[in-house]
């Protein structure tokens, strides 16, 4: 049921138009950070107000929305945002990556490949990849304008000098279509290859920092690296203990006071889908009717 005190998807039409113009500009210039007048949203900044505004500007009554936080549909953050749009837009919601037309995400890209027509909206805390070494906004703008990206490699150099390898595991910087260097938001670097050549539209919203950027479908996205320290999309060297997947990003879960641990897909929809299809991991049991968790412990 839609709350009639609000316009569809909470934001007024003029604000949505303003945000859509920023999105269109972002789509036209892949990887370029477009400033926009971020609005106050009825939730704290850390909750992805940038992503929420982008989602609000993209939603239509026919859309089916999925919201994930670190791959899970059932965390407080994901549940709140989903409820927010159910109430303010009355749209259908789903936990299925395949069924969704718009997916708002915090820190993950779904394992199930995205398809043409889908929109993936990322929540972004810090949009500026050069911020770490150059705090001056005027200077970072100039660096983007003139394609002066040596500093990005200084960051990776420092990583190797300190840790013996590129230790950056999240928000790993990428170059878009050979032009703009972009922060892909704090997704694990395991997800970086999925940024490239995706049939879906990928939109990035930073609320506090008032920036929107975008990757139109089939954009080439390359993770920065050194010739002798090439980019590796690493993950924990395990299979999912529930569904047995060997190619999905895993969360480590401590299971008892003795420090026993298990590895499970961070993408809950992907894991459940595999178990429904009969896949079983080290600690999983075959899925029977009515069971949803399939765990021994």
């Amino acid at each position: 049921m839609t709350d009639q005190a609000y316009n569809f998807a909470y934001l007024d039409e003029q604000t949505k138009r303003m945000i859509r113009r920023a999105i269109l500009k972002g789509v036209a210039v892949p990887g370029y950070q477009v400033p926009f007048a971020s609005r106050e949203m009825p939730m704290p900044y850390g909750w992805g107000t940038g992503g929420v505004q982008v989602t609000a500007a993209c939603l239509t009554p026919d859309d089916t929305l999925k919201v994930i936080d670190q791959g899970a549909d059932d965390t407080t953050n994901a549940v709140s945002i989903r409820k927010f749009f159910q109430r303010t837009a009355g749209v259908a919601v789903t936990e299925s990556t395949t069924d969704a037309t718009i997916i708002q995400t915090r820190h993950r890209i779904p394992e199930t490949p995205m398809t043409a027509g889908q929109i993936l909206v990322y929540q972004v805390p810090i949009p500026e990849p050069l911020r770490f070494l150059e705090p001056r906004e005027t200077e970072t703008r100039k660096m983007h304008e003139l394609e002066e990206y040596g500093l990005m490699h200084v960051k990776l150099y420092e990583d190797i000098a300190r840790h013996g390898q590129i230790a950056t595991a999240y928000a790993y910087p990428v170059k878009v279509e050979g032009r703009y260097v972009m922060d892909p938001s704090p997704i694990p670097k395991f997800d970086n290859p999925k940024l490239s050549d995706s049939p879906a539209i990928q939109l990035f919203g930073a609320g506090r920092e008032q920036r929107i950027y975008a990757l139109p479908p089939f954009t080439k996205v390359v993770s920065l690296d050194f010739d002798d320290h090439p980019f590796i999309a690493s993950k924990a060297p395990h299979d999912c203990d529930l569904c047995g997947a060997g190619d999905s990003y895993l969360d480590e879960v401590i299971t008892d006071d003795q420090g026993s641990r298990m590895y499970v897909c961070s993408d809950t929809d992907f894991c459940a889908g595999r178990r429904d299809a009969g896949h079983v991991g080290r600690l999983g049991v075959a899925q029977t009717e009515g069971q949803t968790q399939g765990m021994l412990i």
Partner: protein, 252 residues
């Protein structure tokens, strides 16, 4: 007759009604070191930063290696600034990244022009730290852990790693202890000679000029009052102001 590497004509820079520098003209030949002296506020830093493109120039012409510098796009000029040119600031904090290791500081210019092999970048950095007498085992330390003299030597290494042809230096020995200054000067002199650098060096210190500069330009109130071969200007100053300067009344 060789052609000048840098040719400056009528360079003028105003700050509102105040003159920064006015009608400065000179030629700098390949491998030549030009010293600029003059009292505080005489326009030395203004001239240097206009030449390096760190601020805009109001009037005049700058030709570098046959190219009209003031007509260049900002992209081209900044590219020149990190390849062919180098700029050593008086305060190393202005020329270093204090949050980045010594190796990263030296490697930055290499990475800026496309170096993508970590091992090679590190080898160059190690080599350059050696050339400025910083021990190889300090490569992963940040400049904040270095003394003032070490920071200044690191700044020099960071600038020279890409083998620039023209180096601007604004009081590179200022703010250092006398003994540290002497060591830095020796080092600079060796590097300039070995690398065949062309240098424009601003200083208060006539000893620095005597040791490093082939030619000397004396500035007062934004204008060049005298220029010529260093020894000639210092031993036989023509302008009254230079005579005062040399007689060390103003030297301090």
């Amino acid at each position: 007759m060789t052609t000048p590497l840098l040719s400056v004509t009528g360079l003028t820079k105003r700050y509102g009604p105040r003159i920064g520098c006015a009608d400065v003209s000179f030629d700098l030949y390949p491998g030549e070191v030009l010293g600029i002296v003059g009292e505080s506020g005489s326009g030395k830093s203004t001239l240097l930063s206009c030449l390096a493109g760190h601020q805009t120039t109001d009037l005049g012409q700058i030709t570098y290696d046959g190219r009209n510098v003031l007509a260049m796009s900002e992209t081209d000029r900044r590219r020149l600034g990190r390849t062919d040119w180098a700029y050593v600031h008086q305060n190393p904090r202005d020329g270093l990244r204090m949050g980045v290791s010594a190796g990263g500081n030296v490697g930055e210019r290499l990475m800026a022009i496309g170096a993508r092999h970590y091992g090679q970048i590190r080898d160059s950095a190690t080599n350059w730290l050696g050339r400025v007498e910083i021990a190889a085992d300090r490569i992963d330390d940040r400049p904040t852990a270095f003394s003032g003299g070490m920071q200044q030597r690191l700044q020099i290494a960071r600038n020279l790693v890409t083998a620039p042809r023209l180096v601007f230096m604004d009081e590179p020995t200022g703010g250092l202890d006398v003994s540290v200054q002497a060591r830095l000067l020796d080092l600079l002199r060796g590097l300039v000679r070995d690398l065949g650098l062309s240098v424009i060096i601003v200083t208060h210190d006539l000893a620095v000029v005597r040791l490093l500069a082939h030619r000397l330009m004396v500035m007062k109130s934004g204008r060049v009052v005298e220029q010529g071969l260093t020894d000639q200007v210092l031993d036989d100053p023509q302008h009254a102001y230079t005579q005062l300067l040399v007689s060390s009344v103003l030297a301090a």
